[in-house]
């Protein structure tokens, strides 16, 4: 009997160095958490933070190799490097925003940080996996961690409800994805992305088999759930509203980016031959996602829910670039996600800062008069809102600009028109936040505790990010373009 040799070298380990670092730190924090007393849990979050920073530096071990490791299961190319850096930024900002928040809400458990780290590992695997199974594995590692994180406020029924809904529907959607993977495997005989692409190129007749097309549809549904495309979006508002705010920020940026990383990787790397099939349906999904997200967001009065719908709409804008599918389109997906990370985490961190134990203060009316009580915080919030609305010189404007010009370049004029109209509609609900902050009399005194310095740091970093990307976008776009080179 021939035994399959399990073999790998140190070079292989270098490729997944950041994942390893994060895993080790996660395990360390986990063990630490059960040995420290309740009062001295403070260092757990900082340990996790150190882990993220070390993971960032460990990235340099794998840079420049561009090799596939573990028998071609994972890779280290500019594409996944871009996303890994993005996920580490997300994790870093999330933990910064969480340090004070978890203590306030009584969820400063070791498990919280452990799961954030594990979820980050999952995201990284989704970006670096070049095998459908690894991508699925990463997706599940990420998702299961997030399910638990969403419900970590066990005394809050809405948090538990969020976790439960997310888990049920997530499992449902995972089944679609897995079935899609299975059908793809059945028709091409391989799980390797490059291999699938090769089979479809060499034996073009396979592309038109119903089994392949159904597999394609199931993959779209599976990924569509994770990035909250309409009509697979319905979990988003309930989950985003119920989950702890820091986790909502983590989900809206990290999970979405990871979903897009895998989505882009699979579709442009393994299935470009099927572009003729998926372009049209993606067009419809993009339009539906933008429009439904924006229109429902108009009538929201809870800021977390409003941001949830806004995140749906933003996924729609990114899909515009996906449909365009040209060089600018692909790189603008990455650019958009990066810009979105800063503006969204920033906005959610402001939401965190304006709440206190027992009073989340997430109704729009709670924001009345904030502009005068907390001028700098309100100014930051204005920057995030204007960026989300796409007003220059914020990052959001450049992101939209690239996305829509990609669509125009690819001759999807109507898509660009619908996108621009949508962003005009969206301006209404983003500006409403500004109006409440600056132009409305507060109905009641907004009681806010002392600001957590780390969360303030997260806001400052986010403001910096939004302005840096918005004013000098060329460096970032160049990076994004380098990162998608291999997809061309």
């Amino acid at each position: 009997m021939e035994i399959f040799k399990i073999q790998f070298s140190a070079a292989d380990l270098k490729v997944i160095a950041p994942e390893l670092v994060l895993t080790i730190f996660a395990l360390f924090v986990l063990i630490l958490s059960v040995f420290v007393r309740r009062q001295s849990r403070g260092p757990l979050g900082y340990t996790a933070l150190v882990g993220v920073v070390i993971a960032f530096f460990s990235l340099f071990l794998g840079i420049g190799k561009e090799i596939k490791a573990f028998n071609g299961m994972v890779t280290m190319d500019p594409f996944c490097l871009f996303f890994k850096v993005m996920f580490l930024i997300v994790a870093f900002l999330t933990i910064l925003a969480s340090l004070g928040y978890t203590k306030r809400e009584g969820i400063d458990l070791g498990e919280y940080y452990v799961l954030v780290l594990f979820a980050t590992v999952g995201m990284m695997l989704m970006a670096s996996g070049v095998n459908l199974l690894i991508i699925f594995l990463g997706l599940e590692v990420m998702s299961i961690s997030i399910y638990v994180l969403a419900g970590i406020m066990r005394d809050d029924t809405r948090s538990v409800e969020a976790a439960f809904k997310y888990f049920l529907l997530g499992a449902f959607a995972s089944a679609f994805l897995l079935y899609g993977i299975a059908l793809t495997y059945a028709s091409t005989g391989t799980l390797d992305l490059a291999g699938i692409g090769e089979v479809l190129t060499r034996q073009a007749w396979i592309s038109s088999l119903p089994i392949v097309i159904i597999g394609l549809a199931l993959l779209i549904i599976g990924f569509g759930f994770k990035i909250a495309l309409v009509p697979f979006h319905m979990w988003t508002p309930d989950v985003y509203e119920g989950a702890p705010t820091s986790i909502t920020a983590f989900m809206a940026t990290g999970v979405k980016a990871a979903g897009f990383a895998a989505f882009v990787r699979v579709f442009f790397y393994a299935l470009p031959n099927l572009q003729a099939y998926w372009t049209q349906i993606m067009w419809i999904l993009a339009v539906a996602t933008m429009t439904v997200g924006n229109i429902i967001a108009l009538s929201q009065t809870n800021i977390k829910r409003m941001l949830a719908y806004s995140s749906i709409a933003h996924a729609g804008y990114i899909m515009v670039a996906f449909v365009a599918g040209n060089e600018l389109g692909k790189s603008s997906i990455l650019f958009y996600l990066l810009a979105y990370v800063f503006m969204n985490i920033g906005a959610f961190t402001v939401v965190i800062l304006l709440g206190k134990k027992g009073e989340e203060n997430t109704q729009l009316a709670d924001y009345a008069g904030v502009g005068f009580k907390h001028p700098l915080l309100a100014a930051s919030m204005s920057i995030f809102m204007l960026s989300l609305a796409g007003v220059p010189p914020m990052a959001g404007f450049m992101a939209k600009f690239y996305v829509f010009s990609a669509a125009v370049k690819a001759r999807y004029y109507w898509l660009a028109v619908i996108g621009v109209l949508n962003s005009a509609v969206a301006a209404y609900y983003y500006l409403r936040v500004l109006i409440y902050m600056y132009f409305r009399e507060p109905e009641r005194e907004l009681a806010v505790g002392a600001f957590s310095p780390s969360a303030v740091l997260a806001v400052i970093i986010s403001v910096w990010g939004v302005l840096q990307i918005g004013i000098l976008p060329s460096t970032f776009l160049a990076l994004a373009q380098r990162s998608v080179q291999f997809l061309l």
């Binding site: 439960f164 809904k165 049920l168 529907l169 449902f172 959607a173 679609f176 159904i214 394609l216 549809a217 199931l218 779209i220 549904i221 569509g224 759930f225 009509p231 697979f232 319905m234 979990w235 309930d238 099939y277 998926w278 349906i281 419809i284 999904l285 439904v292 229109i295 429902i296 108009l298 009538s299 060089e327 600018l328 790189s331 001028p375 007003v391 220059p392 010189p393 450049m398 690239y402 829509f404 010009s405 125009v408 370049k409 660009a416 028109v417 621009v420 109209l421 005009a424 509609v425 301006a427 209404y428 500006l431 109006i435 132009f439 000098l472 976008p473 060329s474 776009l477 160049a478 373009q481």
Partner: protein, 656 residues
Amino acid sequence: MIEYVWLIPLLPAVGFLFNGLIGRWYNLDKRVVSWVACSVLGLSFFFSILVFFSLLKLPPDARAAVPDKVLFDWIVSGGLKTVIGYKIDPLSIVMAMVVSGVSFFIHIYSVGYMHDDPGFTRYFAYLNLFVFMMLTLVLANNFLLMFVGWEGVGLCSYLLIGFWFERDAPANAGKKAFVVNRVGDFGFLLGMFLIFAHLGTLEFNEVFAKAHLLDPVTVTMITLLLFVGATGKSAQIPLYVWLPDAMEGPTPVSSLIHAATMVTSGVYMIARCHVIYSMAPVSMAVVAIFGAATAIYAASMGILQFDIKRVLAYSTISQLGYMFLAVGVGAFSAGIFHLMTHAFFKGLLFLGAGSVMHALSGELDMRKMGGLWKKTPITFWTFLMATLAIAGIPGFSGFFSKDEILWQAFSSPHGHLFLWLVGAVAAGMTAFYMFRLTFVTFLGQCRASEEVKKHIHESPPIMTVPLIILAVLSVIGGYVGIPHVLGGRNYFHEFLAPVLGGLPEGAGHASLSLIKSAYAAGAVEEIGSVNWEIILMVVSVVIALIGISIALYLYILKPDVPKRLAQRFRTLYTIVFNKYYVDEIYEACFVSSAKKIGTFFWREFDDGVVDRSVNLVAGLMLWWGRVLRKIQTGYVQGYALGILLGAVVVIIFLIK
């Protein structure tokens, strides 16, 4: 000196940062704040003049070919390369001088006007930011940077209209302005995308050099989309609705942003893009027709207003219509010329209105004014200068610029007799309502309450000095462009000619042939071009004088009017006794037909159709939002069903 052009926009930005951050944070003394705010503007104006003179030293042909001053690369990616760079040519420097100069005077005026306002520092921070954005707009060397300025001035306008946000009306007006402007921006953005998609660049020099590569349909699309942007920013039909509401802002803001500078940026943009506009005759015609229509339509509404700022607002819309008429018939430099003179006299009119409000404890209703000329002589005389200028009385700046537009509307190859006619009638209406405003406000007897009467006083020198300076400019500002037919050299056009080309030398073929056909065949030979220019000039002056005479007749010689009216409607006694009835009788009887039309436009069309359709769209969106959110039941099985249905749709769509 040209190298230092970047200082012009940068200085106000410094002022903004200083006042916005340090001034607000440390609650600096008002004197410090106002000194900083005004001095950065003064310096900026000074540098504009320096650059202007260094440009003047160059031979005319070299003036338009000065290389752009590129500060640094802004966005570089694949096909797209955009820089932060400034364009230095006669057009941009004229605009920079007008913007920084008028802003400078209005800043000084504001120091007095806003003196007791609690938001003093915030006001100057916003105002400086506005000037920075406006200068960015006019000096940008590419569409994207121009768009940054374009959006930036919109933002400042929004902030300043809603400056007194404690009250609902200004906050709502600000929002309205912003939203309506976004509609226009949508067109601008799409136009920009199209340019980039077809030419691969957004830099003005490159775009205009490559413009001949575009096919006619694309050019028409681009120019029309850019014009949509211009209608929003410059308050033209159908997007003008925000401007009258914008009067809720402080009066110097109305003067600076909503009369002298920001609202003219659409005209500037079209002049800047004249190369592509000239390639699209259809768009030119659209611009001219919309401009002429706006000119007369807004003027008709101005007749009915009693709020002095609203009269001026409608007048601004109307005058902007003239500028669009000018650029629409290909007389780009005439449009810019009127833009400049308008900045002087309309800025002055608003500042004068502010001075009146200052004197009357904030009164805006002209029915409660009257007889102010004795108590506020400087305000009155300067206001009169501006009124004469806007009415187009020979010798004043408005005469030269407006007359040139009318002449070009008549004679240019793009012009038409009808365009001239609309413009001329609108000019008569302008003369009428402006003199009505002046007469009712300053002459006759004072109709203010006793309480208010006691406090009537002339404004302090810090406000009157800018009034005088602008009054001087309103008078002499036109002498840089005396037309050839009156023996002038028309320096203004000569200066702009390297950029915008000379005035169209059509000599009125289209319009003349219309007239010729009306004439007997024998008379044709005598109709020479120059004669016509003089004839039309006289005609438009006569029309203006008729407008003034009607105003004079109705408002100064009014004892005659009520007498004749009395026999038809009320007893002589009541009317003579109640002087305040004059306006109502005048409304009810003399202008009843005009009022019907005006009211129809104002109430039915403006409020009823235009406003309501804007509200309807917004309401519809909100309604859809409320309907769609019903799907969000909260039941997880419903969500799963949604996913399943979506899955079925996706699969069926893919394998169909």
